[in-house]
C-alpha cells in the first residue's frame, strides 16, 4: 500500500459520494432528465485518472462518465451544475449528464451515442502523436458499445495508423437491459481485439490490488511504444441502466462485489485508513452538489447568442 493507492481511494470515494448525491437530487426531482451513474466503476476510473496525472492525455467516455470527469479534475460543482442544467455547469447547461466536457482537464467528452466516443479518442491520440509525443488518448466504453461498428473500426484504425490509444472496455455484463452473453458473438471481446492485432490485457473484477499496479504500466507502455493497447476490465454495475428505473437489471446477485469496499478493506488492513467516515473531501463533494442545485438556470437569451456566434465565424 502506498500514497498512490490512498489517492485512488480518495478519488474513488469522491466519485461514489458524488453519484450518491446526484441520486438523492434525482429522487427529489432536481435532475431534468435521466442520469446514468457509474457506481461500481469508481476504482477503475480513479486508478486510470491517477495514472494520467501530470500529462497532456485525453480521455473520452460513455454516457456513464460523471466519475471520469471528476477523476480527471473537473470541478465537481461545475459537473453537478451541468447535470442539473445550470448556467454554472461545465457547458452552461447545453450538454447535460451525457455530454460532459472538461477538455482543459483532459476529459475531452462523454457521449450520448453508444461507442461514438471511441473514434474521437483516436483523434486525440493522433493530435498527441503529432503535436505532443509521449501523450496518449484513452477511451472508455462498455460491453454494449463493443458491438458497435465505430468501436470495431477504431480498433482497426488505431492499429493501422499506430495511434497511442488505450481502449478500456468496461465490461459490466449489461448493455441497458441486455446481457453481453446474449448480444455478443465470438469467443470474447479480448479475442476480437487480438484479431485486430491489438495487445490485450484483462482485469478480473476482484483483482483490485493488482490493477492499481498494472494499469499505470499499461499506460506507460502506450506512451513509450506509441501503439494502441486493449484492456478489458470487468466491473460490476451497481446501479441500474439509469437511476430510478422501474426494473433494474443488474448481474442478478444480491451481494455484488463492490470494488470500493474491497479497496477500503485493503487500506484498512494496511493501516492507511482507520476511520472512513467524515473525510473532508466527502463533505466538500456534498457541499458542491448542494451549491450547484441552488445555482442559476441559463439565461434564455443564451440560445440566440449561440446562433449568432455560430454564424459570425467566431
Amino acid at each position: 500500500m502506498d500514497a498512490n493507492q490512498s489517492l485512488i481511494y480518495r478519488i474513488a470515494c469522491q466519485i461514489r459520494c458524488f453519484e450518491t448525491a446526484i441520486a438523492e437530487a434525482a429522487n427529489s426531482g432536481f435532475v431534468p432528465g435521466l442520469v446514468h451513474l457509474c457506481t461500481g466503476a469508481e476504482v477503475l476510473q480513479a486508478t486510470l485518472c491517477t495514472a494520467l496525472l501530470g500529462h497532456n492525455d485525453y480521455v473520452t467516455g460513455s454516457h456513464r462518465s460523471h466519475g471520469l470527469a471528476i477523476g480527471m479534475g473537473a470541478d465537481p460543482y461545475a459537473v453537478a451544475a451541468e447535470i442539473f442544467g445550470k448556467a454554472s455547469g461545465l457547458s452552461g447547461g447545453f450538454g447535460g449528464t451525457q455530454h460532459l466536457a472538461a477538455p482543459d482537464c483532459g476529459f475531452l467528452t462523454s457521449n450520448g451515442i453508444v461507442g461514438a466516443q471511441v473514434p474521437l479518442a483516436a483523434g486525440a491520440a493522433l493530435s498527441n502523436k503529432i503535436l505532443r509525443p509521449g501523450n496518449i488518448g484513452v477511451c472508455f466504453f462498455g460491453d454494449g458499445a463493443a458491438n458497435q461498428g465505430a468501436v470495431l473500426e477504431t480498433m482497426n484504425l488505431a492499429v493501422a495508423l499506430e495511434l497511442p490509444l488505450l481502449f478500456i472496455l468496461e465490461n459490466n455484463g449489461l448493455g441497458q437491459s441486455t446481457s453481453s452473453h446474449y448480444a455478443s458473438g465470438g469467443v470474447s471481446f479480448s479475442a476480437r481485439a487480438k484479431g485486430f492485432g491489438l495487445r490485450t490485457e484483462i482485469f478480473q473484477e476482484k483483482d483490485i490490488a493488482d490493477q492499481m499496479v498494472a494499469l499505470p504500466l499499461l499506460i506507460e507502455e502506450v506512451r513509450t511504444s506509441g501503439k494502441p493497447l486493449f484492456l478489458e476490465a470487468f466491473v460490476p454495475r451497481l446501479s441500474g441502466h439509469y437511476h430510478g428505473e422501474e426494473k433494474s437489471f443488474t448481474a442478478g446477485e444480491k451481494d455484488m462485489f463492490d470494488p470500493l469496499t474491497a479497496l477500503e478493506g485493503l487500506l484498512e488492513r494496511s493501516g492507511l485508513i482507520q476511520d472512513k467516515e467524515g473525510y473532508d473531501f466527502q463533505i466538500e463533494i456534498q457541499d458542491a452538489v448542494a451549491r450547484a442545485l441552488k445555482s442559476a438556470t441559463p439565461e434564455t437569451a443564451s440560445l440566440t447568442l449561440w446562433e449568432q456566434t455560430w454564424q459570425a465565424n467566431s
Partner: protein, 354 residues
C-alpha cells in the same frame, strides 16, 4: 487573373494551407494512394496489416485521391501529415473530429458524399454538436471535403447531392463552390472557422477552368454572389447548376430576357439577404438545384423568400430539381433526371408569360 481548374485551385490551396500551418493535416481514403504496395520493402508478415503511418517509406505511387485533388501533398509534407486510412469512414471522420478538438486542423476527405451515410453519426451527432455541447470550450477547425453530383453514370450511391440534408443540421456549415476561385477561397475560410464545415465539390466541375486571382484570396462563409445582373427573374443556382443557369441566361439574353443569377456559394448559413434583395427587384424566383426534390435546399429557399419577401413576389416561386427518385444509372435516364439548360429556358419563359 489566370485560368485554373477547380481541382488545381484546391490542390494549390491545400499546399498553401499545409505550408503555412503545421497543424493542418489531411486524412482520407487513397488520398496518397498505394499505401502498403511498395514492393521495394518486403512486407513483414507479422505486422503486414499494421504497418502504421510509414513516414519513412518511399512513395512508389501517389494517386492523390480518386480525383487527384490531394496529389503531391504526401511527397511535400510527408505521410505523418497526409494520412491514408482504411475504408472506415466512421473511424476516420471521428478521428478527424477528435483531432480538431485537440489542436490539429484536419481536412478530411470523404470520397463521395453518399458515403456520409456510413458515418452520419460522427457528422450529425459528433461534429455538428461538439462545440455546442461543450459550451464553447471546444472549437472544431475541421473541414470535411467531399464530392457531389450526377452526370457521369456513377449510379445512385456515388452521385447524390446531399448539401440540403447536411444544411438542415444545426452546427454544420455547408459550402458548394461552383468555380475555382470560390473553391479555393471557401476552403481557406472553412479551415479558419471554429465550426465544422463541409465542402461539397461537384465531380463534373473538377476540370472546369475559370479565372482566379494569383493569391487565391479567402471567400467569407455565408456570402453569396450575384454572377449576372438582370431584372426579369431571380435564378438561384447551386454548384454545377450555376453553369447551366449561365448557359440558359445567355440564350435568354438573345431573346431579350435578362435573368439575375445568384450563386449562394454557402448553403448554410445562407446569404438570404442577397436573394431577398434580388427578388425585391425581379419579383420572380426560380431555384435550380441538384439536391432533393422534397424538403431540400430549393424548398428551403422558397420557404424563406415566401415568408420574408412575399410582398415582392409577382407569382409563385418555382424550382427545378431532379425527380424524387434515386439517381438512375442509364445515361439517357440520368440526363432527364438532372435539371438541364432546356428546362431552365422553358421555365423562365413560362414564368415571364405567367
Amino acid at each position: 487573373m489566370t485560368q485554373l481548374s477547380l481541382k488545381d485551385a484546391l490542390n494549390k490551396t491545400l499546399h498553401h494551407l499545409m505550408e503555412t500551418d503545421a497543424s493542418v493535416i489531411v486524412i482520407g481514403e487513397d488520398i496518397v494512394g498505394g499505401a502498403g504496395t511498395n514492393l521495394q520493402k518486403s512486407p513483414d508478415t507479422k505486422s503486414g496489416i499494421n504497418a502504421g503511418i510509414n513516414a519513412d517509406k518511399e512513395l512508389s505511387v501517389e494517386l492523390g485521391g480518386v480525383f487527384g485533388v490531394t496529389a503531391g501533398l504526401a511527397t511535400r509534407f510527408g505521410k505523418a501529415r497526409v494520412i491514408d486510412t482504411p475504408i472506415s469512414e466512421t473511424a476516420f471522420v471521428g478521428m478527424g473530429i477528435g483531432a480538431a478538438a485537440t489542436g490539429l486542423k484536419p481536412i478530411v476527405e470523404v470520397m463521395f458524399c453518399d458515403f456520409m451515410g456510413v458515418c452520419f453519426d460522427q457528422i450529425i451527432n459528433q461534429a455538428a454538436k461538439m462545440r455546442f455541447l461543450s459550451g464553447n470550450q471546444i472549437t472544431l477547425p475541421l473541414v470535411i471535403r467531399t464530392t457531389m453530383g450526377a452526370g457521369d453514370s456513377s449510379g445512385a450511391m456515388h452521385s447524390q447531392s446531399l448539401h440540403g440534408l447536411l444544411a438542415s443540421m444545426p452546427g454544420l456549415k455547408v459550402v458548394c463552390p461552383s468555380n475555382a476561385a470560390d473553391a479555393a477561397g471557401l476552403l481557406k475560410s472553412a479551415l479558419m472557422d471554429p465550426n465544422p464545415v463541409i465542402m461539397l465539390e461537384h465531380k463534373g466541375l473538377y476540370t472546369h477552368q475559370s479565372a482566379v486571382e494569383e493569391n487565391l484570396p479567402a471567400v467569407p462563409l455565408g456570402t453569396g454572389k450575384t454572377i449576372k445582373n438582370g431584372n426579369a427573374v431571380t435564378l438561384v443556382a447551386v454548384s454545377a447548376m450555376v453553369h447551366k443557369a449561365l448557359e440558359a441566361a445567355n440564350q435568354l439574353t438573345a431573346e431579350g430576357i435578362e435573368v439575375e443569377i445568384i450563386d449562394p456559394r454557402t448553403i448554410s448559413p445562407l446569404d438570404i439577404g442577397l436573394i431577398l434583395k434580388s427578388v425585391t427587384k425581379t419579383g420572380r424566383l426560380l431555384v435550380v438545384d441538384e439536391g432533393a426534390a422534397f424538403a431540400g435546399f430549393a424548398d428551403a429557399v422558397i420557404s424563406l423568400v415566401s415568408r420574408e419577401g412575399f410582398s415582392a413576389l409577382k407569382q409563385a416561386p418555382r424550382k427545378l430539381t431532379p425527380k424524387h427518385t434515386p439517381v438512375p444509372y442509364a445515361p439517357n435516364l440520368e440526363q432527364i433526371w438532372l435539371p438541364g439548360t432546356a428546362n431552365i429556358l422553358e421555365t423562365v419563359k413560362d414564368m415571364m408569360n405567367d
